[in-house]
Amino acid sequence: MTGIETIAADVWIAAAVASPLAAACAMLVLRRWAAALGVLGSLVILGAVAGLAHQLLLLGPQQLVVGGWDPPLGIRLRADGPAVGMAGITGLIGLFVGIYATAYLRPLAASPPHGERLFWPLWMFLWAGLNALYLADDLFNLYVTLEVVGLASVGLAALARTAAAVAAALRYLLVSLLGSLAYLMGVALVYAATGTLELRGVAAAPVGYAALALMSAGLLMKTALFPLHGWLPPAHANAPAPVSALLSALVVKASFYVMLRLWFELFAPLIGPATAHLPGVLAAAAILWGSLQALAARRLKQLIAYSTVAQVGYLFLVFPLGLAGGSLRPAWGAVLFFILAHALAKAAVFLAAGNVLKAFGHDRIADLGGAVQQLPVSMFAFAVAGVSLVGLPPSGGFIAKWLLLAAALEAGRWGYAGVLVGGGLLATAYIFRFFSHAFRFVPESVLCCGLPRRMEGCALLLALGSMALGLAADPILALLQIGLPETGAAGAGGAP
């Protein structure tokens, strides 16, 4: 491990993983202070990630060798551009969703009084799992982090304790377990073939293909790409609003992040151009199918959940664009920027939907007339975030879509360019379908209960964040591309 190994770097990485765990333990002990600890914890974690980002900008990719044992034996946590980017967006959204949750969960009648307080430890465990996942550089470590994230998400999804929510959570649990199992089998195969658990290039034996198939299928299942997306809409639509925001914005992206690492680093030599088009085709189908279902959705959170299914399609376009001939680095940068923009926008939209639900008592789109009058701030947040989801300028979503479009056109991939533009049109359709109801002028519609100001504030801040991302795209893109593997399909070994 050459490079300047400043102790300071290790502290930030360790803090990024340890602080959420510590916060979780503290919350289990001091149950009454859970909410306060939650927000405080978010600030601490965000601080750690910010420090890490500063180090990254100064000195390039950082790393922490846990326990002092060098990688083949021990575990190394690597903090390069993508990892820090994802950790940063998780921190940002975690902070705002946390503040939102302090107001949202209090009067949750369905669960027992102490039930809502246990939201916080579960969320902290989820956060720890996410941070560990971004920084992991070891196959089995990724498995364990995937499990932490999976189980915590299931626990959170079932928090609403209604029959629909519990059924959806159970389905989600089974999906997650099936995926993890396949992943574990893949890891076993890789270990059997190479003898190490690191993300190094694996021999092209049939074992490599089997491992690729199992791990990829498992991760596709957990990321809910088109044919395997059945579990996502019920789970995200029936979970409480802050949980839906976390699931849609962050958790879905975590398993995609793992697949990104695997396909671009571990399995890169195995993947020929043809294989790379498999996820591309599924992605195109996802965009179209998700948008169609979102158009037909009758409830607002269902509409947003199906929008996630569609937007996940955009993510998987990186494989055909990056691996099949196109240059790697811009495609990476584009998809990571898309993840950031989508996370902010999707979280904002779910929080706004939560506000609508709390204020109107239901979220049936057809009966949401007069929403714009009653909840101007939330609806403005929904609009701004919707613009970013659709990919219209000046939002972050636009820059991401532009980068993907440029990559597609440079690689001469016409199909994907068409899908990108068509997806944007369909997204406009379902976002503004809601607005055509919300803008209806209903003179005397009255809300069932008022909203604390911070709930609308959080939604607005996240939406404006996704807009600001569009304007300050350059520095973030530079950060995201630090430490990316340079060359194209060959995908040389891991970060230097």
């Binding site: 949750l108 369905a110 089995f140 364990v144 499990e147 189980l151 299931v154 626990g155 079932a158 609403a160 304790r161 209604t162 029959a163 929510a165 519990v166 059924a167 959570a169 159970l170 649990l173 089974l174 377990l177 099936l178 993890s180 199992l181 574990l184 089998m185 890891v187 076993a188 270990y191 059997a192 658990l197 029936n238 409480p240 409830r299 959170k301 639900l357 008592g361 239901h362 979220d363 049936r364």
Partner: protein
């Protein structure tokens, strides 16, 4: 040679478990099938450990198996709990059509 046999048996158990998880309709049978698949993977891992005769069989797969078992246990427990909760919630006639939460 016997390591290979156990590995193959592990693989078959894994496939069997997968079939069970997918095809079995009652929820409990799915969880059981999931555990069978899990044990299949663990058997495969242990078989891999046995192929190496350094003074002791390769400890890393064994550690992985231990961790896998703990994860499997916690997942199964959560699954069972959810199944109980689901049955209890759906027995009770659902009062308010509370669409949202």
């Amino acid at each position: 040679m016997s390591a290979l046999l156990y590995a193959v048996v592990g693989a078959v158990l894994f496939a069997l478990g997968l079939y069970g998880v997918v095809a079995a309709s009652p929820l409990l049978r799915k969880v059981l099938a999931f555990n069978i698949a899990g044990s299949g993977v663990f058997l495969f891992l242990v078989a891999m450990a046995d192929r190496v005769r350094v003074p002791f069989p390769d400890p890393v797969p064994q550690a992985m198996v231990l961790t896998g078992i703990v994860v499997a246990v916690s997942a199964t427990a959560l699954a069972l709990l959810l199944i109980c909760l689901l049955r209890e919630l759906s027995d009770r006639p659902r009062e308010a059509a509370d669409d949202g939460h």
